[in-house]
Structures are given as structure tokens and as C-alpha cells.
């Protein structure tokens, strides 16, 4: 199964794999069914929490999941059974970190026999009002906006 000619070769970042991994992770863990919004403005949303992970391989990538407290709260609430009023910032950050961890883990298996095979790094979160990650424009990147009821998530994958 892993002979050279069995390796699937993607020309660009296989973003749909990460989207599928996110949809699955969010649904399994919280019950929310996210839908991908096809047309959107990049600058639409101000993030307050960004979960991130470096994916190391021949085609290394940075995987990020950006959202705000308004989205993270119901998400983590449904995951844990804790009412939103009782959630603290640490749990919100932890929830987003764990989600990015699961997305990375799922996607890794799917991309194992491809030219985008990678190993995971430690997941981490960036927190703050209007927090942003800026990567050089030249690089290949993928972006997807996913929503459900009041939830709003921005998935990004950058080639490093």
C-alpha cells in the first residue's frame, strides 16, 4: 500500500481533508453539525482564540482554528456538559486546543499515503482580542469558514 506509485499526490493543500476532520470532530464531541460557508470575506471575523498546530513533513503546514468566545462557549459547553456561565477562559482555550489536536490526528491518518503526509506537533492556543496569525502571502494556503447556529469557526492551513 505504500509503494511509490500508490502515494496520492495533491497539487495544492488538501483542505477538504481538514474540513472533513473538523466537521467530524465537532459533531462527535459536541453534537453541532457545521456547514461550510462558500463565499465569505477573509476579514469578517475578529478572533479571540486561535488553536494551532504545526504539521511536519515534506510539505509542512501550520493548521489553525480561529474563533471567538461567543462560539467557543457553546461548543465547549456541549462537549463537557458545563453551562456556559460556568466556563472559564482556561477551559475554552483547552477545548479549542483539544479540537485542533483531534483535527490534526484525523487528518494525519487520511493523508498518510499522500505527499502531504505529516507528523503532529504539540497543539497550542493563541488568546487575545483580535489575535491574528500572519503568514507570508506567497505561501500556498487554504481557508474555510464553518458555521452552525451561533457558532463561527475559521479553519486555515498554511504551507510552511
Amino acid at each position: 500500500m505504500s509503494a511509490e506509485n500508490d502515494i496520492k499526490k495533491y497539487e495544492v493543500i488538501p483542505g477538504h481533508v481538514f474540513v472533513a476532520a473538523l466537521l467530524e470532530s465537532v459533531e462527535r464531541m459536541s453534537g453541532f453539525v457545521l456547514t461550510e460557508v462558500k463565499a465569505f470575506q477573509e476579514s469578517e471575523q475578529d478572533n479571540e482564540i486561535i488553536g494551532a498546530m504545526v504539521l511536519q513533513g515534506v510539505n509542512s503546514m501550520l493548521l489553525t482554528l480561529g474563533t471567538n468566545k461567543k462560539s467557543a462557549a457553546p461548543l465547549v459547553s456541549f462537549m463537557t456538559g458545563i453551562e456556559t456561565e460556568d466556563l472559564d477562559q482556561e477551559l475554552l482555550n483547552d477545548g479549542i486546543t483539544e479540537l485542533i489536536n483531534m483535527v490534526g490526528g484525523s487528518a494525519r491518518a487520511s493523508l498518510e499515503a499522500t505527499n502531504y503526509k505529516f507528523i503532529l506537533s504539540v497543539p497550542f492556543t493563541l488568546v487575545g482580542e483580535g489575535v491574528k496569525i500572519v503568514v507570508k502571502k506567497r505561501t500556498d494556503s487554504f481557508m474555510a469558514k464553518l458555521v452552525c447556529d451561533q457558532l463561527n469557526l475559521m479553519l486555515r492551513v498554511y504551507k510552511l
Partner: protein, 284 residues
Amino acid sequence: MVALSKQEYYLFQHYIARKCGIKLDDTKAYLVESRLAKLLIDSKCENFSELLLLLETNSDANIETKVIDAITTNETYWFRDPGSWKIITEEWLPQKITEIKKRKNVKIRVWSAAASTGQEIYSLVILISEYLKNNEISDVSIDDFEFIATDISTHVLTIARRGRYDPITIMRGLKADLRDAYFDRERTAWVLKEEYRKRVRFEQFNLQNSFIFWGKFDLIFCRDVLIYFTDALRSEVFEKAAHVLKPEGFLLIGAAEIYYSMEDYFQKNITSYGTYFKVKEATK
């Protein structure tokens, strides 16, 4: 995770399309992989070919059910998609209450066509009960409504019938005051009170089959299941649904779902909270 080869995926695509009418396109390959990967670990198969073999030879009586459950079972929660519930409260329910008052002995019939673990239909039962109570309507009761809920998966129906939910599942979309009013605490679980649970008839049903047996409905929920169907089955479902929806009945689908083939059979009604569908004149 074991890689799902192109041939294996092709075989699964055909198997699922045949059994459930569900279309698994290329973007779904990864979803199938992860859902079935868990099944591989649990059924001690080394790879997907082994699983396919089990399905073909029927060596495990439950394997077909397990595969269908793995692919079709979706998580859900209470009062999903606020817009739908607004439409029911603001448009549908007032109309139906007027109808009931005019003609007694005719039940208002509701069908949840992808019932899953029951939250959708039970949310409706709770909503109607609350509406009648809050608006002090005494000449109409929940007895004037008939609730039917179906799903292709027997597994989720078992859970739905029991009406028993763990503390995490119960709080997903259900406020504490409603939970306390409609559920009993059984150690750490919450069980929907018998007087409400008994009102719903749960049955296994494959939407590929004829709908005629079910009679006519005043409200049909068909949310977040059509997205998985082949175009052919989807059109077929719309046609069949149009024939079992009463002239003043509503059809509700998922907020993010848009299907042009619906226009052949249904009239779109756009409100500020969302969209609902009624049967087009010609189909009636």
C-alpha cells in the same frame, strides 16, 4: 487508520447507496474512513476489505446494522436550529390550533423523518405543551396531536424510545427549567416523563420506501438527512413528501440546505427566522 483504497471505497459507496440511498461522494471518503475505522477496531477486522467481506457473506448478523449505524448516525441536540422553532411557534402552531378548534376529532399529525435519538420530536412535544400552557389554551390539548418519528437506524430508535439521556446530552440546547419540568431524574440520567414519551410512535423506516402507509401530515421534519442522498433519491423524497403533506402542512428542512429540485413540488415561504415549504398547488 487503515487506508481505505479506491476500490474499497467504491464498494462501500455502492453498498451504502443500495441499502440507504445515501450518496457518498469523494469528499465523504474521509468521513467514511473515520467512522468505519472505529468499527474496524471494534469488530477486529484488519482492514476494510475484511469488513466488506463480512458484509457480503453476512457472517456477522449485526454487521450490516453496525455499518449503517456508523455511517448514518449523527449527533443531535435539543431545539436545533432556532429559526425552525420560531416558524413553528409564530406560523404553524397558531394555524393548527385554530384548525383544531374548528374541527374536533381530527388530529394534527407530525412526522420527524430522521428521528435519530429523539431530541427533535421530543423538542416539538415540549414546545407544543409549553405553548398551550403559556397561552392558557384550554380547549386544545397535546392529545389533539399525533407524533410519528422514523429513522433508518434501529439503534438510535432504541435510545429515542427510552427517552433517557445522560447529563451532557440533556443539557445540549435544553434549559434547566424545561428539563426539570419534563424529565425525571433517575440517578444520574434524565428520563422524559412517561406522559410525553408515550405520545411518540418510533418506527424504523427507510426513506427509499413508499410513504403512503403513513397517511397525511400537517408537519414534516426532514432535516440534515437529504444532504446525504443521491440526487435521484432526493427528488423522489420531495415527490413522495409532497403527496403526504396536507395542503396547509409545512415541510421543514435544515437551515443551510438548498435544493432546487424542491421547487417542482414545493412553494418556498421565507420568513425573518427561516424558510418553510408548503405543497405547490399543482401537486395537490
